[in-house]
């Protein structure tokens, strides 16, 4: 039963990522990888939160790191820079609902309803949005940050090197 629910979530994560990829006008050869990356990243986050009860910020970081790492081999295969895959794929993880709640809170506070519970809730939502966005950006950049390379083209895995020598 759980597997079915997870698979269904994969599908929706993938579709959300692909929809945004088309909105951002990515080359059509990258659409399938974006679907896969979106599904894998999103489901990683969901599994970490639901089954391992990990904080949403760390779970998002794990999900986006996986997307960042997987975007490198896809970039080599499909000849497009890694962000072309990674950015549409992490869009489903952008905390839209939290951002909405933060804005809602800000507007209520501005209109005079400034009770402490509302203020603390709004601040919590805002900080979560900020840290989630930070972990998304850091996760996507992770392979570049660790290998200290400027371009994904210099970042080849061992296998590909051997193939090229033959």
């Amino acid at each position: 039963m759980d597997a079915v629910i997870l698979l269904e979530k994969c599908l929706w994560f993938g579709l959300a990522a692909t929809g945004f990829a088309i909105l951002f006008n990515v080359p059509s050869r990258t659409l399938l990888p974006v679907f896969i990356l979106g599904a894998v990243g999103g489901i990683t986050k969901v599994i970490l939160i639901d089954y391992f009860h990990i904080n949403i910020i760390i779970a998002t970081f794990c999900g986006s790191s996986i997307i960042g790492i997987l975007s490198i081999p896809f970039a080599h295969k499909r000849h497009a820079p890694p962000p072309t895959f990674a950015i549409p794929a992490i869009i489903p993880m952008v905390p839209g609902v939290l951002a909405y709640k933060m804005m809602q809170g800000l507007i209520y506070i501005a209109s005079g309803d400034a009770n402490p519970a509302l203020i603390s809730e709004t601040v919590t939502h805002g900080l979560k949005v900020m840290f989630i966005l930070m972990s998304l950006a850091a996760g996507v950049e992770l392979p570049m940050l660790i290998t200290r390379k400027q371009s994904a083209k210099e970042l080849r895995f061992k296998k590909t090197y051997k193939k090229e020598e033959h």
Binding site: T18, A21, P83, V94, Y100, M134, K153
Partner: protein, 257 residues
């Protein structure tokens, strides 16, 4: 600034580099990516280039192998419009220069050709973005009826944004119109069917407007030390979010939830 005469080659290279950096910037590349690409291309021709990148203007200086400044110019960027095909094509072109020893003329031709650009059919873009909205709704445990309304709301909302952009309204105003339209459509469901809580439809119908790329690029820029670019992008993203909220609250005020 030296008075070293601008050769025709240097002038053409400089102008093309400026065009490339402008295209990258408006298509949604981070400042670091713009700088890397321009470095790669100019080094491929034996020149070096220095850039000052801001949200609306780019300044470039090109130096020849002897270290003389041979080109100096700046350019206002067009309105930002995310286009990852442009980003990916410019990356390919930059590697062609390095690996296949393109001439400046070939580079210029390729960049000019890029500007005509290919787009997905409008209906496809509308349909898939609407599907993405419906997916968000499902992920937040929306029911089929919610998904249908979110699909419709996103479809028409995006259409309104495109049309408003075409009529050259202020960018934030375009976002406001779109948010208002989408939330009016899904708000109707919340308003007229009060037996079940449909708030999730209302929230997810405006998610297609969430400024994901400005916000993510804001942090990518900051990680790379381009703090100014990052701050400006972050502020831009924040204003968009605020505009979306305004649109949403206008329709909440109309329906008096």
């Amino acid at each position: 600034m030296s008075n070293f005469p601008m050769s025709k080659d240097a002038k053409e290279l400089g102008a093309t580099l400026l065009e490339m950096s402008m295209l990258l910037m408006v298509s949604g590349a981070s400042a670091g990516r713009v700088r890397n690409t321009i470095d790669r291309v100019s080094n491929g021709f034996g020149y070096t280039a220095d850039l000052l990148i801001s949200q609306r203007t780019i300044i470039i200086s090109v130096y020849n192998p002897d270290g003389h400044c041979v080109f100096n110019s700046f350019k206002r960027t067009q309105p930002h419009h995310i286009n990852f095909t442009t980003v990916s094509e410019i990356s390919r072109i930059s590697w062609e220069v390095v690996e296949n020893k393109w001439t400046i003329y070939e580079l210029h031709e390729a960049v000019e050709k890029l500007k005509s650009g290919t787009h997905y059919p409008r209906l496809l873009v509308l349909a898939f973005t609407a599907l993405a909205g419906a997916s968000f709704c499902r992920l937040l445990s929306g029911q089929p009826i919610d998904m249908a309304f979110v699909f419709l709301g996103t479809f028409i909302g995006l259409f309104v944004r495109q049309e408003a952009m075409r009529l050259r309204f202020n960018f934030y105003l375009c976002v406001y119109f779109a948010a208002l339209t989408s939330s009016l459509i899904t708000g109707a469901l919340v308003h007229f069917d009060q037996n079940i809580n449909h708030e999730i439809a209302l929230v997810t119908s405006i998610l297609f407007l969430i400024p994901g790329i400005p916000l993510i690029n804001a942090f990518s820029d900051m990680i790379e030390g381009n703090l100014q670019n990052g701050l400006i992008r972050g502020l831009h993203g924040f204003i968009i979010s605020f505009t979306i909220a305004l649109g949403l609250f206008t329709s909440i005020a109309i329906y008096r939830f």
